[in-house]
């Protein structure tokens, strides 16, 4: 009786939180566009110097970090080639969108299909090599794809990059950050929800079992080779769609946009957020995309001051951000392998234990 009571209470609070989050998510773009809350104007610093553009880029990056988290955190396959799938998506977008003039939604579908095929091909070495050697094969693949992108770019376009038409849904132009936001937000939620559900199916559990112990997984009748290829194809399909969206959002990308740094940032995101956790992937992507702009906001406050603060925040801001992220990854890896989400869970557990005692 008692437990049922707490269950239903838990249930209703969960829904309450969800509705609150949804309301916040819908209100956020208006807040960031109008720069005021219920008519009260907010200063730039009160909004942490954030704009809708950063939020949109964050949402696109979340697609990438979610898909890499699925591959690395859940299926246990490490890939340093995730930028390559973004590049595949961007290339598909250029061929289908810019050259053939296909409508935007169809381009995205095609990018997903091409990405899945590319992922299948890129996953083939996993049938033969394990561990470190597989990581290296994704590394090699990255260079091969980025060379293809370069060749493609110079064959059909110029040194500036590949241009993209403005995205359209039917006759509805997606031309403002606000419209992009309301396209991207449902997409991220869809991917999040889809991955969450995938992980609790038979295959999803088999995948996590494969990560933890390959031989044991084989012995209970799961074909790890097929599982690996499936994980790779699924993850790269998402990354490829994200790449196409990224290209349309930027409206011009070139081969340098998808360098090895681009791939590394996704690994850093899932490590910072927490490996193997969907929320971790979101937290990591948010931190990675929003922190630079927050620091830029602080920098604009301290232009008068001099010395070390000015040196770090104004003159060398990009480098300073890199130092922060790099050290964050190192410190988290050494002291808290569960990432920020892991630390959060630890604190929650400790608090719950304290409450039980008192």
């Amino acid at each position: 009786m008692n437990s049922q009571n707490t269950d239903s209470k838990k249930f209703s609070t969960k829904w309450l939180w969800l509705i609150l989050a949804a309301a916040l998510a819908c209100y956020l773009p208006f807040l960031l566009t109008d720069r005021s809350i219920f008519g009260v104007r907010l200063s730039n610093m009160q909004l942490l110097n954030l704009g809708l553009t950063q939020i949109n880029l964050m949402l696109i990056a979340m697609l990438g970090s979610l898909s890499l988290n699925y591959l690395t955190g859940n299926a246990g396959l490490i890939s340093i080639g995730h930028a390559a799938f973004y590049a595949v998506g961007a290339m598909t977008g250029a061929v289908a969108g810019t050259q053939w003039g296909w409508p935007f939604p169809l381009v995205l579908v095609l990018a997903g299909v091409v990405g899945a095929i590319a992922g299948l091909i890129a996953g083939l070495p996993s049938l033969r090599v394990r561990g470190l050697y597989f990581v290296l094969s994704t590394f090699a693949m990255h260079y091969i794809v980025s060379f293809s992108f370069l060749e493609y770019q110079f064959k059909f376009f110029d040194v500036v990059g590949v241009p993209y038409e403005p995205a359209k849904l039917g006759s509805f132009d997606i031309n403002t950050p606000m419209r992009w936001y309301f396209l991207l937000l449902p997409l991220v939620i869809l991917v999040y929800w889809g991955l969450k559900n995938t992980m609790s199916t038979r295959e999803g559990r088999a995948m996590m079992a494969m990560r933890d112990h390959e031989l044991a997984t084989t012995s209970v009748g799961a074909d790890v080779r097929i599982l690996r290829l499936k994980a790779f194809a699924f993850s790269s399909a998402i990354a490829s769609v994200a790449g196409a969206i990224y290209a349309f959002y930027m409206s011009n990308v070139n081969a340098e946009s998808f360098g090895i740094q681009f791939a590394i940032q996704f690994i850093a995101m899932i490590i910072i957020g927490g490996m193997g956790s969907l929320n971790g992937a979101l937290v990591g992507a948010a931190l990675w995309l929003l922190l630079p702009s927050i620091i830029a906001g602080f920098a604009s406050q301290v232009t008068e001051s001099s010395g070390a603060i000015k040196f770090l925040l104004v003159d060398n801001r990009a480098q300073f951000v890199q130092v922060i992220f790099g050290s964050m990854v190192i410190v988290l890896l050494i002291f808290a392998p569960g990432g920020i989400v892991g630390i959060g869970a630890q604190i929650r557990n400790r608090m719950a234990a304290n409450r039980k005692q008192s």
Partner: protein
């Protein structure tokens, strides 16, 4: 033309081989796949800039400064980053080296500015003519020094007692511990050597091109070199380095400058599929 290309390929390949050798020493000793090896090359180049352009040291002192500096960097990396992570999953260790190279790059750019610096040393820079082949003395010096270093470290591993202890540690940590070898000191030594070899390569690469953080990409060519040669093999690293250098120069002069990547990494992919243990490595037997 071909002889010219082959010469510069072999000369650059010797430098890659040197960097790759450092990489292989680290990998053999600590099983760390060191993605920061490229950044250690950059560190070497900037240690040289510091010693020669900033501090205006005489050349012999600058050489000592570079060697000591890079040794310290290697040891510090091992103590603070690699040792705490021993026994942890591969991704953690790989990622820590990647994060390290992010931090190092940012720090170097903060100190020296994002643009490259010219690096001039008293090493000969003239050109010798050998028939039709223009032999740049700097390339030649780089190749000779690289070979001398490789021979020196080869002899060190084969002939000295410390070299023997290092090989024993690389072979089996447990057996070395049981025999009373201080494994941590051996691993630190391996990192010191790896970092030092990368730094020597960096001094030459910095002078052949320009000392900038973009040298990292060249230093990272040590990765395919090591894998092609065979990750557990010291001669493999050297041959892999030479091979990468020659392929790079051939592709760059006969096809297009950008196309060298695809040949090197294409070869890497083929090797991974056909002979994952590399040209010279020993086949690893899987544990079932």
């Amino acid at each position: 033309m071909l002889a010219q290309v082959l010469f510069s390929g072999l000369a650059l390949g010797s430098i890659y081989g040197l960097v790759a050798l450092g990489f292989a020493v680290i990998f053999k000793a600590t099983e760390v796949f060191n993605f920061s090896q490229g950044m250690l090359v950059v560190c070497g180049a900037f240690l040289a800039v510091t010693a020669i352009s900033v501090l205006q040291m005489p050349f012999a002192m600058a050489v000592a400064f570079i060697l000591v500096g890079s040794t310290v960097i290697g040891v510090v990396i091992h103590i603070f980053l690699i040792q705490p992570l021993s026994g942890r999953p591969m991704l953690a260790v790989i990622m820590v080296t990647i994060a390290l190279s992010m931090v190092l790059r940012a720090i170097i750019e903060m100190i020296f500015g994002p643009q490259g610096r010219n690096l001039t040393t008293p090493l000969p820079t003239g050109v010798l003519m050998l028939g039709d082949v223009r032999i740049s003395q700097l390339h030649l010096t780089a190749a000779l020094v690289s070979w001398a270093c490789m021979a020196g470290f080869g002899a060190f591993f084969k002939l000295t007692s410390v070299g023997l202890l290092m090989r024993a540690t690389a072979d089996s940590h447990e057996a070395a511990v049981v025999s009373g070898v201080n494994v941590n000191v051996m691993n630190r030594l391996a990192w010191a050597i790896g970092s030092m070899l990368a730094a020597i390569g960096g001094v030459f690469l910095g002078q052949l091109q320009i000392a900038s953080t973009d040298l990292e990409n060249i230093g990272l060519l040590a990765l395919p070199a090591v894998v092609i040669g065979g990750m557990q093999s010291i001669p493999g690293a050297i041959v892999g380095g030479l091979l990468v250098g020659v392929i790079e120069q051939l592709a760059a002069s006969y096809i297009s400058p950008k196309s060298s990547d695809i040949f090197i990494y294409g070869l890497l992919l083929v090797i991974l599929m056909v002979r994952p243990w590399g040209l010279f490595g020993q086949r690893e037997l899987g544990r079932v």
